[in-house]
């Protein structure tokens, strides 16, 4: 899949909202400033990824894991992020676990499904690519994180 230039940008609306919520009320943010921060965020992702990847390589692994990202933050001198990141990760993992369990229950009710699909859940990056359609919309994490086709209609995650 070829990447168009805009694919390496993050959605404007989301970036703007994050900025607005961080700054005191009533502060004006120029368009240029907004676009600069958005670009900076993309660069941050690249920098963090490259850094995390070094740790994975050092650990002779091919898959980036949570520890690699946290080590990268340390390396990049963003130690201040580590505690809040760890907290969020815990919540995230609990949510994922909850979803998994709910799916398992549903499966127990319906006829047997492919069990191995469950295990591949976390490792299967490919499915997530089909998730997003519209580049400019905000997407709640609950939609991003779950593989397509395995959330029964009407199911609400614990977010």
């Amino acid at each position: 899949m070829a990447e168009r230039p805009e694919d390496l940008n993050l959605p404007n609306a989301v970036i703007t909202r994050i900025i607005k919520e961080a700054l005191p009320e009533g502060v004006n943010i120029s368009k240029e400033a907004r676009s600069a921060i958005s670009r900076a965020a993309s660069v941050f992702v690249l920098y963090a990824t490259s850094c995390a990847n070094n740790f994975a390589v050092k650990g002779k692994r091919k898959t980036l894991n949570a520890g690699d990202v946290l080590s990268a933050m340390e390396e990049m001198e963003f130690q201040r992020f580590i505690a809040p990141l760890k907290e969020s990760l815990e919540v995230y993992r609990r949510e994922q676990k909850g979803k998994k369990e709910a799916r398992k229950d549903k499966k127990a009710d319906s006829e047997e499904q492919d069990k191995s699909r469950e295990e591949e859940n976390d490792e299967d990056d490919e499915r997530m690519e089909e998730e997003e359609q519209n580049d400019d919309e905000e997407f709640p994490a609950k939609f991003c994180a779950a593989p397509m086709g395995s959330i029964p209609p009407g199911f609400h995650s614990q977010v």
Binding site: G26, A66, A141, C144
Partner: protein, 136 residues
């Protein structure tokens, strides 16, 4: 508990779309695969980064006087702060076109025979002063 709502006013754990973060991460050729937790953490870290960059720049910048955050506040941060130095190339300082022309003239007079090539900073906004950001 606040832990679950770290991303601000809304109820989601993270607002940046994980799939887009993943696209950016995968654009690095040396990366093979990314575990789900790592993807989540990267997205969350990016949010924290945006918040940090914005607040830091506002706090240390001149825009504060006018209750605004401008490009120049950001490029100032990239230049002055070690933490944000990795952004220096993408957030260059801007100068007035007139100042730049004067620099060129001075260099010519001082015996630098070579004309400057096309400025790498192809940003057309060189015409603007640093303060003349678009109001959003």
């Amino acid at each position: 508990m606040a832990a679950a709502r770290l991303s601000g006013g809304d109820n989601r754990l993270v607002s940046l779309p994980l799939s887009r973060i993943r696209v950016i991460m995968k654009s690095s050729p040396e990366v093979s695969s990314i575990n789900q937790d790592a993807l989540f953490l990267t997205a969350k870290a990016t949010e924290l980064f945006v918040q940090y960059l914005a607040t830091y720049s506002y706090k240390h910048g001149r825009g504060k006087e006018k209750r605004s955050l401008t490009y120049s506040d950001l490029s100032h941060t990239a230049e002055e702060s070690e933490t944000f130095q990795f952004l220096a190339d993408i957030l260059p300082k801007k100068i007035l076109a007139s100042k730049y022309l004067k620099m060129l003239e001075r260099e010519k007079r001082d015996g630098k025979v070579e004309d400057d090539e096309e400025d790498e900073d192809d940003d057309d906004k060189e015409e603007e002063s640093e303060e003349e950001d678009d109001e959003s």
